[in-house]
């Protein structure tokens, strides 16, 4: 299901035009991004939780050239599916 199909499906269900739905999705993702930028996690019941994790720096070695690289620390967004969702697709 790509973005187009997703919007179409959502607009069918919420009985709104695809254009409106597209705008709403944009606004919603915008809000979520802001939250994540503030280190907030978002938990959706029966779906899962989006969490912000800090990955510490590490040294990776190129197996071919044996070159050692220092990979900097980073902040990532992770998704942890709820047990319900997990069980559903098991």
């Amino acid at each position: 299901m790509n973005n187009k199909e997703f919007i179409a499906e959502l607009s069918r269900r919420s009985e709104q035009s695809t254009r409106d739905v597209g705008d709403m999705i944009f606004t919603l993702t915008q809000i979520m991004t802001e939250k994540w930028q503030d280190n907030d996690s978002i938990a959706i019941q029966n779906f899962g939780a989006f969490e912000i994790r800090k990955k510490s720096e590490r040294i990776s070695v190129n197996p071919v050239s044996k070159q050692r690289l220092l990979v900097p620390p980073k902040i990532v967004l992770t998704f942890r599916p709820s047990t319900m969702l997990k069980d559903k697709f098991k």
């Binding site: 299901m1 790509n2 973005n3 199909e5 997703f6 499906e9 959502l10 269900r13 919420s14 705008d23 709403m24 999705i25 944009f26 606004t27 919603l28 993702t29 915008q30 809000i31 979520m32 991004t33 939250k35 994540w36 930028q37 503030d38 280190n39 907030d40 996690s41 978002i42 938990a43 959706i44 019941q45 779906f47 899962g48 989006f50 912000i52 720096e57 040294i59 070159q67 050692r68 690289l69 220092l70 990979v71 900097p72 620390p73 980073k74 902040i75 990532v76 967004l77 992770t78 998704f79 599916p81 969702l85 997990k86 559903k88 697709f89 098991k90």
Partner: protein, 482 residues
């Protein structure tokens, strides 16, 4: 910050910003996620622009061992839900760390060395932490001095000899600053020679509060004997080469410890002080009774030191005055944080001064007689003596300044004279997550010129360590001097 939001909070926020009622908003948000779920069920794949991709991935069955019983069993193959965030979101989330880049480690750099690079690369972010780290290991300073000196100087024995004095100095410092004894240590042995020099430098910034400048020499003499007699004797027994070896070995350990320290620096300041005090006591006791074990108990601010040197090299001109500035700049937060009279900050400040000789030496080895009157390398001890003497004078007015609130900022804004400001490139609205360093990189492809941005925007930048988002900065056009 760090809050956990549920669907209610999210839909409330959504309702507000999209201008629909809360009920509809919640219905929409719920629908949003249930459509994702359905899409996964149907296509095993849902892609949403601006959010990311949800996918179902098959996991093969595999064998595993029950940790408790040791029995082998098979984990059934199953499908799991994965989510890959959109690259926009990835970048937005990682914005605070976006300045970092993967660095190739040179051969011969040991595993812990990255700390240096990191701190260096980070330096604007770690500025808050750095002084804290420096402040910590009061007793162990000399070891730092040693590796640094060994690298830079042809005669490593000298620093080895110099070692005992600074080491014992904090110990002597705290309890007995006031006491007065005659010139014993000077007569003691040649080893005492250098330490005296170091000492004068070390003492300088803090006694100035109480005593006038010419007393410097005497002071060092005063302070030395009390602990030094003991300390130097015990220390000098092991051959200096051994000391070096030990010190070098230990530096690894120390770095690790420092990195730990850096992590913990967010703990309350009082706790930190208490721990620091205990550690100093332990260190002193350990040092007195088990001089050989000193290495294990103590740690040295190797990283802060070298990073200091790095920043000194990159930011400042190769003049003596410039390093003094930046050293003081780091020294400043300390003394600003607590009154300079209390023993600990004093010791910390003093330590920074101790690091100065190193930088000075470095500067002088490559270019003898750069800006002062010194000449030859073999006369390094004399050279440092002179320069440190001149530095202490230079340092003094500033050292007293550092007791006021924000000399760090003032110090840093002194441009290094490498560039000429020629007009303005553009006006930049300071964004959340940006730093002056990042701006500098963006416009000048280097960290160094950030001071010009501060300089040029003096009127808007009140505290360079904390520039509020939305500040309008004028970016000066810089032309490199030849």
């Amino acid at each position: 910050m760090n809050e956990k939001l549920n669907i209610q909070n999210l839909s409330d926020e959504f309702a507000e910003s999209y201008g629909i009622n809360k009920k509809d908003a919640e219905a929409f948000v719920k629908e949003f996620f249930s459509v994702i779920e359905e899409g996964l069920e149907k296509d095993k794949y849902v892609k949403i622009k601006g959010l990311g991709t949800f996918k179902l991935i098959e996991v093969d069955s595999r064998e595993s061992i029950n940790v408790n019983t040791g029995e082998r069993f098979e984990i059934q193959g199953h499908t799991k839900v994965t989510f890959t965030p959109d690259s926009n979101i990835k970048e937005a989330v990682n914005k605070p760390f976006s300045a970092f880049q993967t660095v190739v480690l040179a051969d011969g750099v040991d595993i812990d060395a990255p700390e240096e690079n990191l701190i260096d690369a980070l330096s604007d972010e770690t500025q808050d932490e750095e002084p804290a780290v420096v402040e910590e290991p009061v007793v162990e300073e000399p070891v730092v001095e040693e590796p640094a000196a060994v690298e830079e100087e042809p005669t490593p024995i000298e620093p080895a000899e110099a070692e005992p004095a600074p080491e014992s100095e904090p110990a002597a410092e705290e309890p007995v600053v006031e006491e007065t004894v005659a010139e014993e240590p000077v007569a003691e042995e040649p080893a005492a020679e250098e330490p005296v020099v170091e000492e004068t430098v070390a003492e300088e910034p803090e006694p100035t509060a109480e005593e006038p400048e010419p007393a410097a020499e005497e002071q060092s003499v005063e302070i030395l004997p009390i602990f030094d007699d003991e300390a130097i004797k015990t220390k000098d027994q092991p051959v200096s080469h051994q000391q070096e070896v030990i010190a070098l070995k230990l530096s690894d350990e120390k770095r690790k410890e420092i990195s730990k320290k850096a992590d913990g620096s967010s703990t309350p300041y009082l706790m930190f002080l208490a721990v620091l005090a205990i550690m100093i006591c332990l260190g002193i006791v350990a040092y007195i009774y088990y001089p050989d074990l000193v290495g294990e108990d103590n740690e040295a601010p190797t990283t802060p030191n070298s990073s200091q040197i790095n920043t000194l090299k990159s930011d400042a001109e190769n003049t003596v005055v410039a390093p003094v500035d930046s050293v003081k700049a780091t020294a400043a937060p300390d003394s600003a944080a607590t009154a300079a009279e209390t023993p600990q900050p004093a010791a910390a400040a003093e330590k920074k001064e101790v690091t100065m000789p190193i930088t000075v030496r470095e500067e002088f080895v490559p270019k003898p007689g750069a800006s002062q009157t010194q000449t030859t390398q073999p006369a390094a001890s004399q050279a440092t003596q002179n320069t440190t003497a001149s530095q202490t004078q230079a340092a003094k007015p500033a050292a007293t300044q550092t007791q006021t609130a924000k000399p760090a900022a003032a110090q840093r804004t002194t441009a290094d004279g490498k560039y000429i400001i020629d007009g303005e490139i553009t006006t930049h609205v300071f964004q959340k997550g940006e730093t002056l360093f990042s701006l500098s990189r963006q416009y000048y492809k280097a960290n160094g010129p950030y001071i010009y941005i501060i300089e040029y925007n003096k009127d808007v930048i009140k505290d360079p360590d904390n520039v509020p988002a939305g500040t309008k900065l004028r970016i000066p056009k810089l032309i490199k001097k030849k």
